[in-house]
């Protein structure tokens, strides 16, 4: 097993609507998708964003796209019209998810893009 940041395995983008944030998490390779389903659960994502106090975290599975879509409620301090955050849209937060480490089995390491930043 190797601890790798999600950034080595997947990519994603955030979108905002009011105080609600969605983050897609898209496997670079279909072989990685089951690992994401198993490791990146609603609870894990809620814990990763605990400091933003989400009132709910929903995960939608899109196996044909090798993607997960997370919807986090009430994490944007009121959103773009109210927050004092520099990034009131939460646009930077996809990379907070991608910065999270998970355990990757040896047989999946071939699908990882290991760079200095992610190892």
């Amino acid at each position: 097993m190797h601890d790798l940041r999600l950034h080595a395995l997947a990519h994603g983008r955030t979108g905002d609507k009011g105080n609600r944030l969605n983050i897609s998490l898209i496997a670079y390779a279909p072989e990685i998708y089951p690992l994401l389903v198993q490791a990146v659960t609603e609870d894990v994502v809620a814990a990763r964003f605990a400091h933003r106090k989400p009132t709910s975290v929903r995960r939608y599975e899109l196996p044909k796209l090798y993607a997960l879509n997370f919807v986090l409620d009430d994490v944007l301090d009121g959103g773009v019209t109210q927050a004092l955050n520099l990034d009131s849209h939460g646009k930077t937060l996809s990379y907070h998810l991608l910065g999270m480490s998970i355990a990757v089995p040896d047989e999946l390491m071939a699908f990882a893009r290991v760079r200095r930043n992610d190892a």
């Binding site: 990519h11 009011g18 796209l65 919807v71 109210q82 004092l84 955050n85 937060l93 907070h96």
Partner: protein, 450 residues
Amino acid sequence: MERMLIGAGAGYSGDRIDAPIAVVRDLRTSGERAAIIFETLGERTLALAQLRRRENPGLGYEPNLRALLAPVLKDCVDSNITIIGNFGAANPPAAGDIIGKLAAEVGATLCIGIVSGDDMLGPEGLDVLRACCDNLPDPKSLVSANAYLGAEPIVEALDRGAQVVATGRVADPSLTLAPLIHAFGWSCRDWDRLGRGTMAGHLLECGAQVTGGYFADPGFKDVPSPESIGYPIASIDKDGQFVIGKARGGGLVDRRTVTEQLLYEVHDPAAYLTPDVIADISNASLVELGGDRVRVDGVTGHARPDTLKVTVCFDGGWLGEGEISYYGPNAVARARLAGEVVRRRSPPNIRMRCDVIGVLSVLADDQGAAWDAGVPGEPSEDVRLRVAFSAPDKATVERALAEVEALYCAGPAGGGGIRLALRPRIAATSCFVPRDAVKAKVEIVEARHA
């Protein structure tokens, strides 16, 4: 006619101004039936447009309208490429006037369709809002209230011969769906075709975001010539099946770019709500065709909602931001102390937040939990304290900003590069109103080359 090409010339107000040129060039070269859409209207963009219109009844349309259309209008008219944009913003008739003048200047004769009726601030609209919105702010503080219209009024304008259509608030994907309904004669209850056309529109509406914009991550997701990205062109057939491609230039279209944009601002993938249809991508799949083309399969649709969304914008008080840099040994401690000094001296009734840019900023929360915990972040000796304030009145925020300015002589050692900014804020909320309470209006104006 088996298929139609639709390109995107703008994905938001403030998008690259030269993007439509390559799109129109490629649409012309194709010789196929074609349209180009311009999506330039965010939630607050419309409120700001409304404020401009209050100051001058001739304004309130997209400020870049002329710059966007001037290089392409003549070519579009000559090649029969339909132009559809929500660049009417708070004043679609004024946008129609500008387009008419532009047509005269470039020697084109054309029919302009003007779609309005989204504005809910008139007496009738306000009655509807009062009846339907629990959280309606004090009417005196209202800046704008606009219902999201669907494709139908745009289709009516096209059916009546419009070659350019200027709208106010319509749902973004409806800009794409309307020319498809017009071209293929789809029923407004053909949910699967409407769902597919809507998702084609969803992929187009943010311009470069599906062709390598907002995507590059060097060494991981590289984008060719990111300074000259070709904006998207979708090819859609009579059943709504579609392929996403792009105009000449840099950028790329592949499974990764399309997946990121397909899920952008989507919540439940089985229920993407628009005024026209509830689109469903829960079973969608992608096929890379090569040459920067991706086919999107498996999109379906369900019956449209009975209500329309209204975005209500109102006076949101004032936002002040002040920044100061600290460098070298103990820089973070000096920046944090500066923040504490400003906090102790600021008016007590103000909302305030501190960041240390370079250590902890965008990740943190407004309540300051991360700040108080002295949280993680990378150690750095080149940091910038940022303090943000908000309050209902300007004077309170100005008072607080003066405390940032005073850090020059009375704050911690070695602070430099103070910048202050103060601006009014627009707040927004939304509610839902019955579909039949909103009356879309379509007007056709003929602009003749003198």
